[in-house]
Structure formats: structure tokens, C-alpha cells
Amino acid sequence: MVRPAVAPDLVHRMAAVVGAEHCISDPADLLVYECDGLTHGRTTPALVVLPATTDEVARVVKLASEAGLPIVPRGAGTGLSGGARPVPGCVVVGLSRMTRVLGVDLENGTIRVEPGVINLDVSRTVQAGGYYYAPDPSSQGVCTVGGNVAENSGGAHCLKYGFTVNHVLAARVVLDGGEVVDLGGPALDPPGYDLLAVLVGSEGMLGIATEVTLRLLRKPEATRTFFATFPSTDEAGAAVSGIIAAGILPAAIEMMDRLAIAAARAATGLDWPDVGAALLMDADGATAEVEHVSRRAVEIARAAGALEIRIPRDEAERQLMWKGRKCAFAAMGRISPNYLVEDGVIPRSEIARVLRDIGRLAEEAGLRVANVFHAGDGNLHPLVLYDARAPGEEERAAALGREILRLCVRYGGSITGEHGVGAEKAAAMADMFGPDDLETMARVRWGFDPRGRFNPGKVFPTPRLCGERPGPYQPHPLELAGQAERW
């Protein structure tokens, strides 16, 4: 990629704002910022700046605006849709130095943080008081609050407690030109449009969040977990539907199919049997309610055809079961040389049918697909297994992934439940939304960012450039380093 030159004068002025050591223009140092968690797509930015305060962000944005350069905000770079991937000639504004906790108010159940604060550090900061921050992406040990806000991130426990958007109470945002605006506030429903709700999930395309106030929850009194095996995903899907139909709202309910169970077993040595499907469910809340609910859920699972129910004897055993679930992703390496991960959503009542359809599509493509996912809200993560050395297999895998997303849309679902659209799924947006729908979203964007300064080229479908292609899954460096696991 040819790197458009930045005027040395601009580098100089940026450095004057953030300090020379936080203004990166050396080609070798820029390499780190070429991609996010989706490592096959890379673009070298023109410049990377690492401001430390809202004021510095505002000044940096103003300078970039005046120079007419695109701006790409960046948190930890763990995104899985190419959201933080640079665009040619852009200034990457990295928020990794903005890691201060600005205020904790346990009585009001809120915390105010800078965007570079790591998700898990929010919970760590308040755990002694019996509180936690609910949205729990599995990258929570490394991803940032700013990235979570931009992606409206979720996790296994979002079924009961909601996503990032349900937990952000206020944000300070730097807009194009360096204008600073406060959205939301310390009390509910400040008069006016709910622009905060639009900011959440806007994938860095409206502005840069430089302060975020989050809602904290009290830790639940009790948690009950069980693991159930089934002959096939049909019975497991029926169990999920039955549990929900009984009026139960589990904290989390996760499903694995035969391939995923096999991979988890291979990776962890867990004594999980060779069965068609398994469920792992958490119920949490006050003790009597939780015990009642988990007993009923177990009965429903049995009635739906469960082969075996395992209830952990203690917290250590519970953690082990969750480890099996969490590592199922990374464990794919044990059963396949390569794989790519999809993120689609379907109505949960259709799980069994969609999984059968996916199986059929996989057979037609001559490939295997493993499924390990958030069953309670129908958020599938099909893992398409392939061998990159076999000619044509990679292309077939990518095509199968796209076909699976179309299937999700046909069933009334979505092309992404938590990883975002970013650069990767911009084209697939057209499968879900018509031109008028997209144009309405674009208008909202123009309201915030009339010149399209922030993160251009993401989310909205444009004709694919030649040579651009959805690529295979490659492990994120963090996964290789054992710091994060993928669901």
C-alpha cells in the first residue's frame, strides 16, 4: 500500500498537542496500527496520535479536520469487523492513554471513566463494594469502554442484563472540528433527542467518546449453573424454547454442537461425552427464585430429551464448565487447520431449523461448520472450518460464511449480533436494509458529522473494490498470547 504523505508541518503541530513521543509517523511503528482483531485486512495509517485528555482529542481532531484528513478512532484494536482498521491517509486517534477512572458513585450506582479503561477494570474497581459492570464480552480483559460503546458490545450475560446501550448513562463526545458535546447526564431522560442511544453502536463514525458514565449493578446473591447433553441440536433447541416459554429468563444459556464439544474436549481434557449438542445455563438473582428457576429449567431440559444433566459441585467445577465453553473457539485449531468466524442472529425459536440448514449448506460446500453460541438470544457464531492449503477451499469457506448470514436474514434475523459491521460486513448491510433505510442512517450521520470525517468507508455498503475480499479467521495476537478467548 502506498502511503500518502502527511505534511511534516501537520506532524509537528500534532506533536505539539500530544507530545512528540505520542505522535507516531515512523513507518515501522505504524505497522502496529494497520489492523484490528480481523488481521487479514490491513491499511497503514498516515499518522497515529495518542492524546491524553478531552482537550487534546479536540485539538487533534481540529487539526485533522483542517487538514481534510479522515479520522479513525481506536481503542484496544480487538474489534472483529475491521472497525478500527485505518483508511488510506487517515489519522488514527488512539485512546489507549486515556485510562483514568474519573469518579465512582456507588450510591447512585455509576462510574465515570475515560474511554481507554479496560472493560474488566471497571468491575475490578467496584467489586469490593459488591458491584460490577454487566456487559461482558469475552475480550473483556483487553477491550476498552470506548470500543464497547462504539460497538454496543455484548456478552453471554446480556440475555438478562442487556447490552452496552442499556448501561451507558452519559458521554462526552468530540465532534468534527473539535466541538465537545455532553450527551445524557446524571439524571434520567434529559430533555431532547436521545443522541446517546445513537452514539452507542455507531462504530466510531459520529465522533470520539472521551468520557463515559456507566451504570453499575449489584452482584447477584446466587448463581446456579447446569450442563446438559442432548442427542442433537433439535432437542437442545427445544429445551431452550421450553425454558424461555416457561417464563424463565436465564442469565446466560449457551449451546455447542458435536464438533464444538469435540474441540473443547480436545483442548481442555474435560470429560464431555461425544453427543450431538450441549447446553450450559446460568441462572442468577435472589436465592429462592434462582433455585426454583434452575430446578424448573433442568426438568424442562429432561423433558426435551436431555441425555445427562451435570450440576457443578462447587465454584471450581463451575468455572471449568465455563472454560470448556469459552475455549471452544480457540479449540477449533485442534480439529481444523483454519477457520473463519461468523456472527449472525436468528429468532431463537428457529435454532434447530437454522442449524440444520447450515449443516446442509456446509455439506453442499464440502466443508464442516462448528456451532458454539449464545442460544438465549439466537446469536449464532458459526465457525467455518477449512484448510487454506487446499486450492479453492478458502474461497468456498468465505462464500459459505456469506451464505449463512443471508440465511440469518431470511429467517428474520441480523447480520451481526455483537461484532459490528465495520469494514467487513458493509456489503452485507444491503441484505438487511433497503436504500431508504440506509439513507436514513446516513442522514443521522450527516447530522453529527456532515463531512464524513470519522471512520469513512465503514458500515455503509459501497461497491466492493477489486481485490477486497472477506478473509479467513486468523487468531488475534491476544489469543495467541493467551489473554483473551473468543466465544
Binding site: 442487556g162 465532534l175 431522560d189 433527542y193 436521545d194 442511544a197 428474520g412 450527516w446 447530522g447
Partner: protein
């Protein structure tokens, strides 16, 4: 200009502004045609659902066409197993609940006047009731929408599944936008199961300090009510806590509340079905009666100053005053008859200043014209106003949708 509907009458007025014409489209396509026709010749439009919330906001600067949603009242889809329903905007909330009940489900929104208020109006006004404590407000329960823009284009956002991050969240932007950005056509809601057990417990006598302290103690005691609402009774408050769920859980929670109140030295009174119904009816009356109604918000730890410096002085300016407080949310609703408009307007302004100091606000939900003449229903412009105007300008550049009704003259 071709006539689009029947002639408007004083009964169709919004805050005294009589529309020239009134239309009641039967389908969304018809509604889109109406809006497209209005766009062609520059007519200003406002939308009306059940008409329970028309006093919220300022009078429209101009009003050519009033579009009533009464005939857009179908349940387009209800998928019980997926716990979602797609409904047209003009369906009354109470009717929706009746349709869901046989499936043992509900929409967990409980604003007053549910029999008349339409789902579109509830969403457009961001109306809610005490269950917001557990289930959130409209923004937390809306997963998708179709809408008609000012230019007559029918578009959609969100989806039919609860988990979905594809694209910008236009539906949440329309929540609370009071018909100034688009006509809400259909709404896709996340539903919740009807609880097997439902019990209300009353703490009959608390002062503001006791109310705040008890609300704070709920969390410490691992109490998880679905609703917490207090009603003004003379000098103090009666707090009702509602527990919903499975019978063993609800029984345990009530027991715990008794123990907590004993420890804190408060009396408690479990209410039988009849008593509970009566309490919640009184709560609804306190929220929907009175010629002047206001909603006060504050951080929940600031309940005492909000009561002393904002709520009480405001109530003192009203005859037959009533008030409801949601102590866990930091919201109070005041209502009554202003005897002296000047005094009531001054009380609103002073209450606003007191609340603003703590980051809260006061919105006038209804007021006689003499009070309106003296105070803006929304209060001083919020910090994001210029950004709000820019978003409005993108979606309704000619300012034809309920012009002047919203915050800052939007």
C-alpha cells in the same frame, strides 16, 4: 392544493392550534402518501395517537394536517416463542396487553392511561410507569421500527431480534422524539413473560430521608422489586414495592422486606389483591390528573434536596396537589390545579434551578395557557441542542413535522 382529509375542528386542536385538515390513514402506505403529499406542497403535519399526551411540549408553530393513527392498529406479528411483537403505532397499549395475555406475555411498559394511550404515542413521548425500575423504558424494549419520514419515504431500522448491532440505531433516536423526526409506523417490541406471582407490599409512613434510605437499602438486602413507587400523603410518603416472579422467590422477597423494615423501624403492610389494585390506581390518578403536571428528575441520592427545594414548593403552588416518586430511578411526578398562574410559573422556574444544580430537569407535561405563557415546558436549552438541531435538519429540513413542539423550539 388538494384536500387530504376532512376539515379540522376545535376538537382536533393541539394546545389550541386547530389543524386545517385531519386524516386517518388505514395503512402505512396511505400514511406515506399523506406525508409525501404534504412534502410536495409544504404542509406542516402533526401526529396524534390516543391524545393523552398532547399537552406535552409547546403548541405547534403551524399545523396544516393532523394525522391520526387510530386506524393503524393491527398486531402485525406476535411470535410468542421469540417474545417479540410487531404492532402498528395506533394500537392502544391496553389492547396490546389483552392480546398478549393469553400467551402469558406482556410488554413491560406501564404508563398511566394505557387504555387510551397508543403504543406509538407511548414510544414517541417516552412514557413509562413504575416497572421501569426492572425492565427499563421504551428505549430498552424497542428492537425495531418502521417509520415514515417527512419526505414521505417509508423506511425501517433495527430488526426483529433482540440482539442486533447492524447499522445506526434510528429506532432509539425516534423514542421520545414526539413526532418531530418521523411518523412511527410499526414498533417491534421485546416482550416479557407474565409473572406467576405478583405481590405489592406497602411501607405506609416515610419521610423523604427514609424513602431515600430505604430505596438504597433494597440493593444491600438483595431485594429485587419490579417496581418501587411512593405516593405523597400529607407530610410523608407511602412506598409500594411490587415483587413479581415465581411464587417461592416472591414469598422470600416479601419476607426479606419485612425483616429489613423491622430493622429500620418502619411499619409494613402486605396488600391483598384489592388493596394493591387500589394503590396502583391511586398512583395512576396522581400521574394523570391535574391541569398542571410536571416530571422532575434528579440523581437518586439527591432525593431529599429535590423534595425540599423543588417538589414541595411546586406542590405548594397547586390546589389538590398529588405526587408520585420513583425513588430508585430519581423521578418525581407532580400534579394539581394552579390557583395563581404567576405563582405556579415561579415555582416551576425555581424548582428547575434547584434540580439543574444536581444535573436534573423539570419537564412540564401539561399546564394551563396562563402558566405556559410564563415558562417553557422543556426548560433551558440542553447542552446538545445544536447537535439536536442538526439531526432534525437532516430528517425534516423544512421543519414541517410538529414545528416548535420540541425542546429549544425544534
Amino acid at each position: 392544493m388538494v384536500a387530504l382529509g376532512r376539515e379540522g375542528t376545535p376538537a382536533d386542536a393541539i394546545l389550541g392550534v386547530v389543524p386545517r385538515e385531519v386524516v386517518e390513514p388505514a395503512t402505512l402506505d396511505e400514511a406515506a402518501e399523506v406525508l409525501a403529499a404534504c412534502a410536495r406542497d409544504g404542509r406542516a403535519v402533526a401526529f396524534v395517537g390516543g391524545g393523552t399526551e398532547l399537552e406535552l411540549g409547546a403548541p405547534p408553530r403551524r399545523l396544516d394536517v393532523l394525522l391520526r393513527t387510530a386506524r393503524l392498529a393491527r398486531v402485525v406479528e406476535h411470535a410468542p416463542a421469540d417474545q417479540i411483537a410487531v404492532v402498528e403505532a395506533g394500537l392502544p397499549l391496553g389492547e396490546l396487553q389483552r392480546r398478549l395475555r393469553p400467551h402469558r406475555q406482556r410488554l413491560a411498559l406501564d404508563p398511566p392511561l394505557a387504555e387510551r394511550a397508543t403504543v406509538g404515542g407511548v414510544v414517541a413521548a417516552n412514557a413509562y410507569g413504575p416497572r421501569r425500575h426492572r425492565f427499563g423504558a421504551a428505549r430498552d424494549l424497542v428492537v425495531g421500527m418502521s417509520f415514515v419520514r417527512a419526505d414521505g419515504v417509508l423506511a425501517k431500522g433495527g430488526g426483529k431480534v433482540v440482539k442486533n448491532v447492524a447499522g445506526f440505531d434510528v429506532p432509539r433516536l425516534l423514542v421520545g422524539s414526539l413526532g418531530t423526526l418521523a411518523l412511527i409506523g410499526t414498533v417491534t417490541f421485546r416482550l416479557h413473560p407474565l409473572p406467576e406471582a405478583d405481590r405489592t407490599v406497602l411501607v405506609p409512613m416515610l419521610d423523604a430521608g427514609g424513602l431515600r434510605a430505604l430505596a438504597a437499602a433494597l440493593g444491600q438486602a438483595q431485594l429485587e422489586p419490579s417496581a418501587a413507587a411512593a405516593l405523597l400523603t400529607g407530610d410523608g410518603f407511602q412506598l409500594a414495592l411490587r415483587f413479581e416472579g415465581f411464587p417461592p422467590g416472591v414469598a422470600e422477597q416479601a419476607q426479606r422486606l419485612f425483616a429489613l423494615c423491622e430493622r429500620l423501624g418502619h411499619g409494613v403492610e402486605p396488600l391483598e389483591e384489592e388493596g394493591a389494585r387500589a394503590f396502583w390506581a391511586r398512583h395512576n390518578a396522581a400521574r394523570s390528573g391535574g391541569a398542571l403536571r410536571a416530571r422532575l428528575t434528579f440523581p437518586r441520592t439527591g432525593l431529599e434536596p429535590a423534595e425540599r427545594l423543588a417538589l414541595r414548593p411546586l406542590l405548594a403552588s397547586l390546589g389538590g396537589a398529588a405526587a408520585a416518586i420513583y425513588p430508585t430511578l430519581g423521578v418525581a411526578f407532580a400534579s394539581g390545579e394552579p390557583a395563581d398562574p404567576g405563582a405556579a410559573a415561579r415555582a416551576v422556574t425555581e424548582a428547575r434551578a434547584a434540580l439543574a444544580a444536581a444535573g436534573g430537569s423539570l419537564v412540564v407535561g401539561a399546564a394551563p395557557a396562563e402558566v405556559r405563557a410564563r415558562v417553557d415546558p422543556w426548560g433551558p436549552p440542553p447542552p446538545g441542542l445544536s447537535l439536536m438541531r442538526r439531526v432534525k435538519a437532516q430528517l425534516d429540513p423544512e421543519e414541517r413535522l410538529a414545528p416548535g413542539r420540541f425542546v429549544g423550539g425544534i
